[in-house]
């Protein structure tokens, strides 16, 4: 009986209870390209916290990224002696809100939606991080200014306050393809948006289907199209216009946005350009749509999706060989540089304590980034993090795009108010690929934005 019960005890509980046990480290201390010195400095400057408890609530779940995050936590516990309890759930955003409203939040809450954090800040659920943390982000992160503004929200009284630090980024401006299929058919990776459009047309002329686009995502159906539109916005309009669009200073039905929608429609609303025809775009699950790249014969040749998508490639797919990516190119005819669309998670304090402050400091320590970078799916904007620790060349390549970006902008739909960014924008895109005109959809989304003002 005891044996049986013991088997049921979670591995995590053991790992955390035994805390400072050296065997738990994913990467032995002192080995590899990791910034072990920085960890030591951190440990030395955060003494006297032993035995404290820290609760963290975040988006990473088991079978996804939870394991990696826990390996990072092991080093934190080792350095400070703080016991960490991490939790997440399917509806982690809702639960973070419910817990904050009811008065039982975690010490640290990590969320991927700045819009949601802004909402929580306005209700007084977040604890200001202070000027020092703000200055640190400004100085030590690539595109530091963008990240400071991402983490700054109005408090209860309407004063702009710094609340959140970035940790873990995703890169959105990527197009995935099969190098073999490109080589067999004699296609070349396009360097400009004009080339991309020409390639798309050439594929159609060859009798091939260029794109796989799937917007299906259960209750969130439509979101992959918002990434398309945002990427196109950054390539057709100035970053200032993008910011104005996200804050609705530029109306959603402005011709600039309608133009971007129509350009997306050029790809997605043409039966010849998308696998399964335009009708399939709205219903194909985003998790299944990249599979078309690998089918025999290929259902499509290109797939626009963020850096996380390889986890949905068929088992055994070797990145760099069976599948690779290229940067979603910019227009040669427009002087807008190399814009990059990204997303990421932000960490905030929802219940203040010394341990919570120490954790926020830890996220600015290169080791907290490197440990995850060395495993998978983690892109870092922290300048002090050693890029040599990236686990593979694909990640390194993505990291390079991120660091070389002339313009970095955060996923606009995550910045818009939930009713738009996680509501009418999604549904509008579904309506758009379903046959409504760009104008009609833009009006409809703007109307929903007006309704919440």
């Amino acid at each position: 009986m005891h044996k049986y019960l013991l088997a049921g005890v979670s591995v995590i509980a053991i790992a955390l209870a035994s805390g400072a046990n050296a065997q738990d480290f994913k990467f032995p201390k002192g080995e590899g390209a990791f910034s072990w010195d920085a960890l030591q400095t951190f440990a030395d400057s955060h003494k006297g916290l032993e035995g404290q408890k820290l609760t963290i609530w975040g988006p990473w779940r088991e079978g996804g990224d939870q394991e990696q995050f826990l390996t990072v936590l092991a080093y934190f516990t080792d350095a400070t002696g703080i016991a960490v309890e991490y939790g997440s759930s399917e509806n982690y955003e809702q639960q973070a809100q419910i817990d904050a409203a009811a008065g039982s939040p975690a010490n640290v809450t990590i969320l991927p939606q700045p819009g949601l954090l802004a909402d929580m800040a306005s209700k007084g659920y977040l604890v200001p991080l202070g000027d020092e943390a703000r200055q640190f982000v400004l100085d030590n992160h690539a595109a530091g200014e963008s990240f400071v503004s991402l983490g700054t929200y109005n408090d209860k009284n309407g004063n702009a306050t710094f609340y959140a630090v970035p940790y873990k980024s995703d890169l959105k401006s990527l197009v995935w393809y099969s190098p073999d299929n490109f080589a067999d058919a004699g296609y070349e990776v396009p360097q400009t948006f004009e080339d991309l459009q020409a390639l798309t047309e050439k594929m159609v002329a060859d009798g091939n289907t260029p794109w796989c686009i799937g917007l299906g995502s259960g209750g969130a159906t439509g979101w992959p199209a918002t990434d398309w539109v945002e990427d196109i916005m950054l390539r057709t309009q100035s970053p200032e216009d993008y910011d104005a669009w996200v804050s609705n200073d530029l109306k959603f039905n402005d011709p600039k946005i309608v133009e971007a929608l129509e350009l997306f429609g050029w790809f997605a609303k043409d039966d010849k350009k998308v696998a399964g025809g335009a009708a399939a775009v709205g219903t194909t699950d985003f998790r299944e749509s990249p599979l078309g790249l690998f089918s025999v014969p290929p259902a499509c040749f290109m797939h626009h999706q963020a850096s996380f998508i390889p986890s949905f490639f068929p088992e055994g797919t070797v990145l760099g060989e069976d599948a690779d990516f290229f940067y979603f190119p910019a227009f040669a005819g427009k002087d807008l540089g190399k814009p990059v669309l990204g997303a990421g998670t932000l960490a905030t304090i929802t219940k203040d304590s010394g341990a919570a402050r120490a954790f926020i400091d830890f996220l600015g320590n290169p080791i907290s980034n490197e440990i995850w970078m060395a495993q998978s799916g983690f892109l870092s904007t922290l300048k002090s993090a050693n890029v040599e620790t990236y686990g593979n060349d694909t990640l390194k390549g993505e990291g390079q795009i991120l660091l070389q970006a002339t313009t970095f902008r955060f996923d606009g739909s995550d910045l818009m108010p939930g009713a738009v960014g996680a509501g009418s924008f999604w549904t509008g895109m579904v309506d758009f690929v379903g046959g409504k005109s760009a104008r009609e959809v833009a009006d409809q989304i703007q109307a929903s934005w007006d309704a919440i003002k």
């Binding site: 019960l5 005890v9 591995v11 995590i12 008065g103 014969p297 949905f312």
Partner: protein, 397 residues
């Protein structure tokens, strides 16, 4: 049509001329029920079959194709120069296109997307990197060249293959052996059993009062119970959690997420339906029994415990099934009132977390759905025997 009373054991034996005696009504009953059951079972059968399939095939072909041999097109990368061996002056790379898979059989193969079926199994095709490749029906290939191989990237070989039906319990093993599943089973039982028993007790008394006692406001209270059925659960989460946290703080605890809290919450959320169903059932009991008992001088308390409770067993059993199911399959209430820490995760929470951050892994979902269904089905079967006819008639006699 008196044959309608026939029980299975009394079915007429097939005798000469039995066809004439086949009861058309009975036959119709069999057929209609069969049709309905088939309709209801079909989707679930799909889930069961899906849960026993290879995870790669789930999203590629319909579950019904799992039962027959199907044709697939695929591609595999064959070895690089590093894998060559020298044999009698020739250079050979060997391997199997299917890896360790044994249920596929090559029909034909080719070297490009344009011609995936250029040669039949057993034949050879010349390779761009030199030499020629022969692929056998079992997927084994032999790539032979007179000159040494130098290529660093394995070329692709396309094939058309037949897949024989195959089922695997891997998905179940994956779910059952995941760390923490045993614990979450215990947690689910800890939550479910008290949360099923407590509301039944409370509801039974209340239902009896509402069915058989006379007092003011009886009608409005019944209506109130019906009205409370409709309260959306989501609305009560924040006020109640605040209340719990307030109480917990008053006692110096960190937050109000305890088993006691979730038992009481589930109890309250289940009460309206329990009272409503039980009241209806109890009100339907023959009033002669009650009256004769009253005349004999029995008190309400005695009537309730001595007669009404035993007579209401079918209703109590059916409500327990639903309350058990509801609590067992609940995710929202557990997450909010118990929390999502590994040590308190219930089975549904564990499964959802196994699905990963982006909700893929349908193979885990399909297997998980069947693992969670087992316990409620056991409850259903064990309580079903209480739905016996004759409890009432026995007591009337």
């Amino acid at each position: 049509m008196t044959a309608a009373v026939d029980r299975a054991r009394e079915l007429p034996r097939p005798a000469p001329g039995w066809l004439a005696r086949v009861d058309m009504g009975k036959l119709l009953a069999h057929l209609s029920l069969l049709l309905l059951v088939a309709l209801w079972t079909f989707p679930t059968a799909g889930l069961l079959i899906s849960s026993l399939r290879d995870k790669d095939q789930l999203a590629v072909s319909g579950w019904w194709t799992a039962l027959t041999t199907s044709v697939t097109q695929g591609v595999t990368r064959v070895g690089t120069a590093e894998m060559q061996i020298e044999e009698g002056g020739r250079f050979v790379i060997r391997g199997n296109l299917f890896g360790t898979d044994t249920n596929k059989a090559i029909e034909s193969f080719g070297l490009s997307n344009a011609a995936p079926a250029a040669a039949a199994a057993g034949q050879s095709l010349p390779m761009a990197d030199g030499g020629a490749i022969t692929v056998a029906a079992d997927g084994g290939f032999e790539w032979v060249s007179d000159a040494a191989f130098t290529h660093t990237r394995g070329p692709r070989v396309f094939y058309v293959a037949n897949i024989a039906p195959r089922f695997t319990v891997d998905n179940y093993i994956e779910v059952l052996t995941a760390a923490g599943v045993g614990r979450s089973f215990i947690n689910s039982f800890t939550v479910t059993i008290p949360a099923t028993i407590i509301p039944i007790l409370m509801a039974a008394f209340a239902a009896y009062a509402l069915a058989w006692m006379r007092f003011p406001f009886r009608g409005p209270i019944v209506a109130l119970v019906v009205g409370l059925l409709v309260v959306p659960l989501q609305m009560s989460l924040i006020p109640l959690l605040s209340l719990y946290n307030g109480i917990a703080n008053a006692f110096g605890a960190e937050d109000g997420k305890t088993y006691l809290g979730i038992w009481l919450a589930h109890t309250a959320f289940g009460l309206p339906l329990a009272i409503y169903l039980l009241r209806n059932y109890m009100a339907g009991l023959p009033k002669e029994i009650m009256e004769s008992a009253r005349i004999d001088g029995a008190s309400h308390f005695k009537i309730f415990t001595g007669m009404v409770l035993p007579l209401s067993f079918p209703a109590l059993a059916s409500f327990s099934i639903f309350q058990f199911l509801w609590v067992w399959n609940d995710l929202l209430v557990a997450m909010v009132f118990l929390g999502a820490q590994e040590s308190k995760l219930v089975l549904t929470g564990k499964l959802v977390s196994l699905l990963g951050s982006r909700g893929n892994n349908w193979e885990i979902l399909t297997a998980g759905a069947f693992i969670t269904i087992v316990v409620p089905l056991i409850v259903f079967f064990s309580l079903q025997r209480y739905f016996v006819r004759g409890l009432l008639s026995g007591s009337v006699k």
